[in-house]
């Protein structure tokens, strides 16, 4: 296999659009990635040839729908190198974290502790604060270094015998930094704590081997991984899922219901109450399959070459500084920067007039912004279909903002 960016680009219909006479320079992949024909086709095929509810019908369409839905689970499991029965479909990444915080959280006792980091997305903070309100757990916070990495040197002194879970972003959605999973797992083991990783920003950049990582829970969102909206994934070790009570109650998640007592279905169905997002799950299965057609060694090299081009270009713009690491080591292609004297929203708005889509603001990471006393950053997040013209258009726009807005 070899990587050819134009071959990849051609598979994404949205990228060939011209808006107001300009091509689309889409560099907001960390918020939501674009979706390839293969995914659109899979969803369309389901909707036009197999649309029916899953698990409940005996007719042929229902059987086809169920088979397609369960095949999607297998695709996701293959992508994560795990057993399909450990893969729970949820409404999104946020929904998956809430599921863990509610269900696994209900097994925690007052005074038990969990550890988060200062760079977590609000979705990996607020569900735990809700749990704290419900059941009196305590939350400890690992600080970040000036380079925007989780400071694992500070982790040991937060560990106590009451520490039950460490939940961290696998890759930061602001700085792109990759956490040292091996170090976290090793430290967690010293006190018997479980480890959860928020893979929202990692999964769009290739397969992972969760079984080899020694972690306990993993979550991600379909729409950031070239799949549809409204679908996310929770992976957890079978023994944890087995021990966890349901989150939502309803159809499909039961063993037997009487008014006196109801028994639960085994995982993963126990956690998929009601009609699941069938089309989106099938689309996500197709997205995982599509991602596996890429040579990720080359795709990653391509992405990081774009990061380098971006960092070199920003360096030449007066007043532009990176927020986060200045190297391409142990990081993924999410890059935040500041432009002195220009608010990030004005940078992003200016870039939009150059046809460049980026995200500006706090990126749902207000504690991180507070830590560095920032109003926000401008964030460039890159996917394999991005090319040099995207980066160059962005740099032209930043130069323009620097010239005209201060």
């Amino acid at each position: 296999m070899s990587f050819d960016v134009n071959t990849v680009r051609r598979q994404f219909p949205i990228l060939s659009q011209i808006i107001d006479g300009q091509p689309v320079h889409y560099l907001d992949n960390g918020a939501s990635a674009q979706t390839p024909e293969a995914v659109l086709d899979a969803v369309r095929t389901y909707e036009t040839t197999s649309r029916a509810n899953v698990l409940r019908g005996v007719h042929r369409l229902a059987e086809r729908a169920t088979e397609a839905y369960e095949n999607a689970r297998v695709e996701v499991a293959n992508f994560l190198s795990v057993d399909p029965m450990e893969v729970v479909f949820t409404g999104g990444c946020t929904a998956a974290i809430n599921l863990v915080a509610y269900s696994y959280g209900s097994l925690l006792k007052p005074g038990d502790r969990i550890i988060l980091s200062e760079l977590e997305h609000h979705s990996n903070i607020v569900p735990w604060q809700l749990l704290r309100q419900r059941s009196g757990i305590e939350i400890d916070v690992v600080p970040v270094t000036v380079n925007g990495r989780i400071d694992l040197n500070a982790l040991p002194r937060l560990l106590t015998p009451r520490t039950k879970l460490i939940s961290l972003a696998h890759v930061s959605n602001v700085t792109g930094t990759l956490v040292d999973v091996h170090a976290v797992v090793t430290l967690a083991k010293t006190v018997g704590a479980k480890v959860m990783l928020d893979g929202a920003q990692r999964i769009p950049h290739g397969p992972v081997d969760l079984s080899a990582m020694g972690i306990d829970f993993y979550v991600f969102a379909g729409h950031k991984a070239y799949g549809p909206n409204g679908i996310g994934v929770l992976w957890a070790k079978a023994e944890h899922l087995e021990a966890m009570p349901p989150f939502h109650g309803g159809g499909s998640m039961i063993g037997r219901v009487t008014f006196a007592e109801t028994t639960w279905a085994p995982p993963p169905r126990r956690f998929e109450a009601g009609t699941p997002p069938i089309g989106p799950a099938i689309g996500l299965g197709a997205a995982c399959q599509w991602m596996r057609t890429l040579d990720w060694k080359e795709a990653h090299a391509h992405e990081m070459a774009l990061v380098e081009r971006l960092m070199d270009g920003l360096q030449k713009i007066d007043g532009a500084t990176l927020f986060g690491p200045g190297s391409t080591q142990n990081r993924y292609p999410v890059v935040s920067f500041l432009l002195e004297g220009v608010h990030p929203h004005d940078v992003a708005q200016t870039l939009d007039s150059f046809g460049v889509a980026v995200r500006a603001g706090h990126h749902c990471c207000q504690p991180l912004m507070d830590r560095f006393d920032l109003d926000g950053t401008t964030r460039v997040s890159i996917a394999p279909y991005n090319d040099n013209t995207d980066i160059d258009a962005l740099l032209t726009g930043v130069q323009h903002a620097a010239r005209t807005l201060r």
Partner: protein, 134 residues
Amino acid sequence: MTDQLYQDRIVALAKAKTGAGKLASPTRSARRDNPLCGDRVVIDVKVDNGKIAEIAHQVRGCLLCQASASALASVAVGRNAAGIEKVRLDAERAIGREEGEAGEPFAAFAPVRSHKSRHECVLLPFEALKEALS
């Protein structure tokens, strides 16, 4: 480049920073945050007989928010709450939320009209001032 949101007049209003800063002894002070974008405005006023005698603002936010706070400060002195509502009507007219022609200085904000996601940036200083006057 396609459009011209940041036209010279808006940039000039922001750069003028009219009323930027704090008052030494304000009668009232109010802060408003936009939770979506994180913009934050603090407005200090000195009120005399129901009318604004002095005004100052601290904006942690985008250029549109700064320009709006600056424009507002330039016309606020001598007005009461009802008078400020008239200025707000100008701002809302400029960005297309209300019918009619916007008066100065808010007519300068007409380019914001087609950028719905930025309307709140222009209105945030009014929200803070309203609270300070209430």
